[in-house]
Amino acid sequence: MNQRENQRDKLFTRRALLLGASEMALVGALVGRLYYLQVVEASRYATLSDENRINLKLLPPPRGRIFDRFGEALATDRLTYRAVIVAEQARPVGIDGTLDALGNIIEVTEADRRRVVRDVKRKRAFVPVSVREDLTWEDVAKVEVNSYDLPGVSIEVGHTRYYPHTEAVGHILGYVGAVSEAELKDADDPLLELPDFRIGKNGVEKQRDADLRGVAGSSQVEVNAVGRVIRELNRVEGKPGHDVELTIDIGMQEFMRRTIGDESAACTLLDIHSGEILAMVSAPAFDPNLFSLGLNARDWEAFLSNPKTPLINKAIAGIYPPGSTFKMITGIAALEGGAITPDTRITCGGHTTIYNQVRHCWNRNGHGSITVHDAVKQSCDIFFYEAARRLGIDKLSEIAKRFGLGSKVGIDLPGEKPGIMPSRDWYLQTHGKSWPLGETVNCGIGQGFIVVTPLQLATVVSRIANGGRAVVPHLTRRVGGKVPEDRPNPPFPSLGIRQASLDIILRGMAAVVNEVHGTAYPGRITEPGFEMGGKTGSAQVRHLTAAERERGGFTLSKSIENEIPWRERDHALFMGFAPLSAPRFGCGIIVEHGLHPGLSAVPIVHQVLLEAQKRYLAGSAPSAQNQPGAVQKEG
């Protein structure tokens, strides 16, 4: 040991201790960091860890069913079966081998095969890939029996909306479809974000979607870093959607649909006291089942290009000039406004000059001197021209609006149109000019600016026949077993029309159908006690040329009629009620381009009103408790 080594040893010791101390300081830093992560921030990281591993899966609730008033199912969920393949389970044979084996059992097209191979490549090996949708029971059984030879193939069960009565109730029920971007943005229901979720797109399905949809359940699952489900941690069952019971009688509905046949028409049958819609058909219609699995492009094109507009519910969204059916309103308004009395006689000479315009009656020979009763019965144009002139447009408009024209009647369906009931104010606002007096006269016979929906026609006849009460048509009887709060219920407020005025018009309507010279006499109901009253109407689709008027205006000879293209023929309208003695049912119909109401519109309403009376008044209905009118006694 020498001096030098001693010096070196001392230096080594000093520096080794320094090194050791600094190393301990670094260890201290590690411990500090550990403390920060595992104690100070522990709860935050615990949450993050749970968020990592726990996925919330939504469990879609079964959609509520829709029934008719007698409990017949109109919309239900049908189970659908699809074959899926899980790539990682198919490994022993391979995707191709498995598809070959499956192809020997059920049909697997070349396109299916390409799609499966493509999807398998794109998705993770544990994600099921659909091979075929909507398998038949037979196919399902075949696959299940052979499952041992089909590694990775399994059957998945899904729900699809099913409408057993197909197109007969298509417009009322609407349909369900995939959630659109806009719908996703407006609502905060997490269900809407499920890729396979369907919501109501139209009709009752849309109107009552919130009730039908139900509340989502949830399943907490533990997943790994690539999203594979390891196990279920917790499960909350959802609430199934409420069943909706409609006022519709599917028997009546299908009867109405059959009666309308191939016509392009819209018809509504109402209980005039309760406002319950017993049947409402817009024809042609669509089969809502086509939409459940997704409409194919060819069907869609066919719907769009059809001139009879099968996708539109014409009963609430089609607007037409009411034509002569409006004459009852003119009559009531004139009586109420004092322009005429029941005994006032106006002479019809076939034509008259009002406001410097020559106006013709449909009957070129004239009706002679007639009262309002006869004018309704024979649908005299001259009488109502004059009545309207005497009354003025604003009084006419005000009464017409009380009966439900010019605004939505408030049916519980989406897409209802308000129609137009003109007035001076309306004209000033829409045209910026003062009301042309000649239009008052046009309005008197339901021409000019007035347009109405077929539902409004039914509403008008109901409000006339029920003693002037503001009945509101509706479709929903019960939701989840309860009467919906938003439904208008009887007793309905009075329209403020004197019963005497209504009676005069009702008698006129009875005469239209049941007296020899009435315009609908050939279509009368002859069964005793079931007689109906009503009023016909024609709505011009185009204006008559002078030459045509020379040849006889509306009353063209058969040979010439047949030459008019379908699209240019007049619309035929009729509104009726029955039975005459104690009215219960109101019915309004429009047959597009139906030409003669007596030949197209009246026979349908005849059949419908007769059938309704037989069903409900003769006691042949399946359940007395659910009969129209019975609902009034319920809470």
Partner: protein, 385 residues
């Protein structure tokens, strides 16, 4: 001198037999090393979801080999280690060049060399070779020698060559460890403070230049470290998930085999780089502190051996090995806790990996060797022993 030494101390035997040396081996240290390896086996068993395959069993077999190698290293005469130090160094450099020339691509970097059926990581071997080389160089250096700047040029070159080669692979973590371990030895032999300061300033000046030599993924890693949210699903994802695993482990952990982050694969490379994270998740702060305590105990042993050793070579080797292990532990833990950016630095004795395990155990073998030969006199020159 040897004769003199032999006459001075009664127990300073001239030569010990193998059995005497085995008797001298510090079995407490062996126990400590085995305890660390045992923690590793447990975590590898858990990492495989409660299976000995594919990691735990292989690690146990390697540990068996490592144990034999460790004892063998411990009983070989310390003077032989000193004699062959430069040869090992040369071999290590050759292997590193070999990697650079025909390296096997692994993990985006060339780190592996295939020797027959074995996969060798020369940078790990270099850790020991460099310690031995520097210890030999400074064994006979006096304080005056180390004060001369000219005397420090050869060791500086000896360090820079392997550091450069490893950095080129590129394996920044290991290069950093080699450089810092060497710096610790230079510090120990008494190199002046200001020279370290000078070297540090020079390094900082070289940083912008060095940045340009970095691979894009390395740049990304450093940038992501500075701002982990920069790339939450890429490079930053590992660190974020590691911190979540650590933090959610809390004080007592989620329980053995119960770590959700690791078992649901949110944690990357849980059997190698992130094995400490897994331990911390399953056993909490209690478990991680226990492991750190084991390492501290190991270091205390190392320091005690260094202080007890009578030869400069011996204590430099002892502290060099301790420091190398410490650096690996610190860098690995700091990395998984998001304190420093790094990758590919395994946790000594615990992480899965053959070369790392066996080289680390050979390092502990050298530590024991110093203990066994604590009183062996080593001359200035190799041949003089």
């Amino acid at each position: 001198m040897v004769a003199l030494g032999a006459t001075l101390g009664g127990f300073n035997r001239r030569e010990m037999s193998i059995s005497q040396k085995l008797w001298q081996i510090n079995w407490g240290l062996v126990l400590l090393v085995s305890a660390l390896a045992g923690v590793g086996f447990a975590m590898l068993y858990s990492a495989a979801g409660g299976n000995f395959e594919p990691w735990a069993l292989r690690q146990i077999v390697r540990f068996g080999f490592g144990l034999v190698a460790m004892i063998a290293v411990a009983v070989i005469d310390i003077r032989q280690w000193m004699r062959w130090a430069y040869v090992f160094y040369a071999l290590g450099i050759l292997l590193l060049i070999g990697v650079a020339v025909q390296g096997h691509v692994g993990g985006g970097a060339q780190r592996w060399l295939s020797v027959g059926p074995l996969q060798l990581q020369p940078s790990e071997v270099m850790k020991i070779a460099l310690v031995l080389t520097l210890a030999r160089y400074f064994h006979s250096a006096s304080v005056e020698d180390t004060g001369r700047i000219f005397f420090l040029v050869p060791p500086a070159l000896l360090v820079m060559l392997p550091v450069g080669l490893v950095a080129k692979q590129p394996d920044l973590g290991t290069a950093l460890m080699l450089a810092m371990g060497s710096a610790a030895i230079l510090f120990m032999v008494g190199v002046r403070w200001w020279k370290f300061a000078l070297g540090f300033v020079g390094l900082c000046a070289a940083l912008p230049v060095g940045w340009n030599f970095l691979h894009d993924y390395q740049k990304a890693r450093i940038l992501t470290f500075l701002d982990p949210t920069r790339d939450p699903l890429g490079s930053g994802y590992h660190i974020i998930q590691s911190k979540i695993a650590l933090g959610s482990g809390a004080l007592f952990g989620k329980g053995f085999l119960q770590g959700t982050q690791s078992h649901l694969d949110f944690l990357p490379e849980k059997q190698t780089d992130f094995i400490f994270t897994m331990l911390a998740e399953e056993f909490g702060m209690v478990g991680s502190l226990t492991l750190i305590a084991l390492y501290i105990l190991l270091m205390v042993y190392g320091y005690a051996i260094a202080f007890r050793s009578t030869s400069q070579f011996g204590r430099l080797v002892a502290l060099g090995m301790v420091t190398t292990v410490f650096l690996a532990v610190f860098i690995n833990m700091a990395m998984v806790m998001g304190m420093i950016p790094a990758k590919g630095v395994p946790l000594p004795m615990v992480s899965y990996g053959g070369t790392s395990l066996i080289v680390t155990m050979m390092g502990f073998g050298l530590l024991m060797n110093v203990w066994v030969h604590r009183d062996t006199r080593i001359g200035r020159g190799v041949g003089e022993a």
